[in-house]
């Protein structure tokens, strides 16, 4: 009876045919003597038999499967390792394209940021006529008649200023 508990634990694997020969014989010897183990084993055998009853493919279904798989797979049937290299090459191309795109985007943004300054300077240049005139006016006041020639176009200002002096 001590043997029984041990056997009960091994019965499922025996029923599944997963116990190799020397052990299997020992178990079968016990089964021949023990009625309760015997019923348990028979039930398990029946269960395994029912589990093992698989649906099988008919010939028509086999052909149907083959055809559809071949059709879907015909691109690389017979061509060695095309599948393996294509994704890799694709990835490299993708990365390159992404890099170029990033670079271009950076360049464009930089240009866009610079643009307002260009606009500003074109509407009001750094060396405007007024600037020149002011400098000339200051120059005239500091260094006398020598520079007066430059400011000659606007003679009104010095003349107006004269009465004050």
């Amino acid at each position: 009876m001590k043997n029984c508990l041990d056997t009960q634990n091994k019965l499922p694997l025996l029923a599944a045919g997963e116990i190799a020969e020397p052990d299997a014989t020992v178990l079968h010897e016990h089964l021949a003597l023990c009625a309760s183990c015997r019923t348990a084993y028979d039930e398990l055998r029946r269960l395994v038999g029912e589990l093992d009853a698989r649906p099988a493919l008919t010939e028509v279904e086999h052909l149907r499967l083959e055809n559809s798989v071949l059709r879907k797979y015909s691109l690389d049937a017979g061509r060695p390792s095309r599948r393996m290299t294509l994704p890799w090459a694709g990835r490299v191309v993708l990365r390159l394209a992404a890099g170029i795109l990033l670079f271009a985007a950076g360049y464009v943004t930089q240009e866009a940021m610079r643009e307002p300054r260009i606009d500003h300077s074109s509407s009001a240049p750094a060396w405007s006529v007024r600037d020149l005139r002011d400098r000339a006016w200051v120059g005239q006041r500091l260094s006398g008649p020598g520079l007066h020639v430059i400011a000659r176009g606007r003679t009104a200002l010095p003349e107006k200023a004269e009465p004050g002096i």
């Binding site: 634990n9 091994k10 019965l11 499922p12 694997l13 029923a15 599944a16 997963e18 348990a40 039930e43 398990l44 269960l47 395994v48 029912e50 589990l51 093992d52 698989r54 649906p55 099988a56 493919l57 279904e61 086999h62 149907r64 499967l65 083959e66 559809s68 798989v69 071949l70 879907k72 797979y73 690389d76 049937a77 017979g78 061509r79 060695p80 390792s81 599948r83 393996m84």
Partner: protein, 166 residues
């Protein structure tokens, strides 16, 4: 890849369909899933060796089948409440074999996931212990433990369900 090997394809199709066909009731749907699983294994499996391809196809097929059966069950639960009462009387005509199969499937679904997977791979997909271990990524010994416990519990469950159902 070597030119399309019909014999190899048939062996794989048989085993994947054995597994998928037992999880999915609808035969056409099971065929579709078998096809999808094999195509994916040809496309995505890194090795071209048959055991690796088979393991990949089995794994994929099992996952797809479980998802599909879960969806189907959800749909059935939605519809069946009203229909179940009508079938009640007609149900007695269903023969014993069919009923045992139904009860077995129901009992199988009550086991733990790993036990279910081990039993299904071993019996439905007709894999060896070693192949099952490779698919489940566990040791041979662990597969045997899942099988033994799963079968033992299945037997208890089966008797209970059978006495309840009949």
């Amino acid at each position: 890849m070597t030119p399309f090997d019909t014999a190899q394809f048939r062996r794989m199709a048989d085993r994947v369909f054995g597994l998928v066909g037992r999880v999915i009731r609808d035969r056409d749907e099971a065929l579709d899933i078998t096809q999808e699983a094999i195509i994916r294994s040809y496309r995505q499996c890194r090795s071209r060796e048959e055991p690796a391809l088979l393991a990949f196809a089995i794994k994929t097929g099992y996952r797809l089948a479980l998802n599909a059966s879960r969806d189907a069950r959800r749909r059935r639960e939605h519809l069946n409440e009203a229909a179940a009462e009508q079938v009640g009387t007609a149900g007695t005509i269903i023969d014993e074999m069919f009923q045992r199969r139904q009860v077995l499937d129901a009992a199988l679904e009550k086991l733990s996931d790993r036990q279910q997977q081990a039993l299904r791979l071993r019996f439905f997909a007709d894999l060896t212990i070693a192949e099952t271990a490779a698919v489940m990524r566990i040791s041979d010994g662990a597969v045997k433990v899942h099988l033994a416990r799963g079968l033992a519990r299945l037997r208890e469950r089966f008797e209970v369900e059978l006495s309840k159902g009949m």
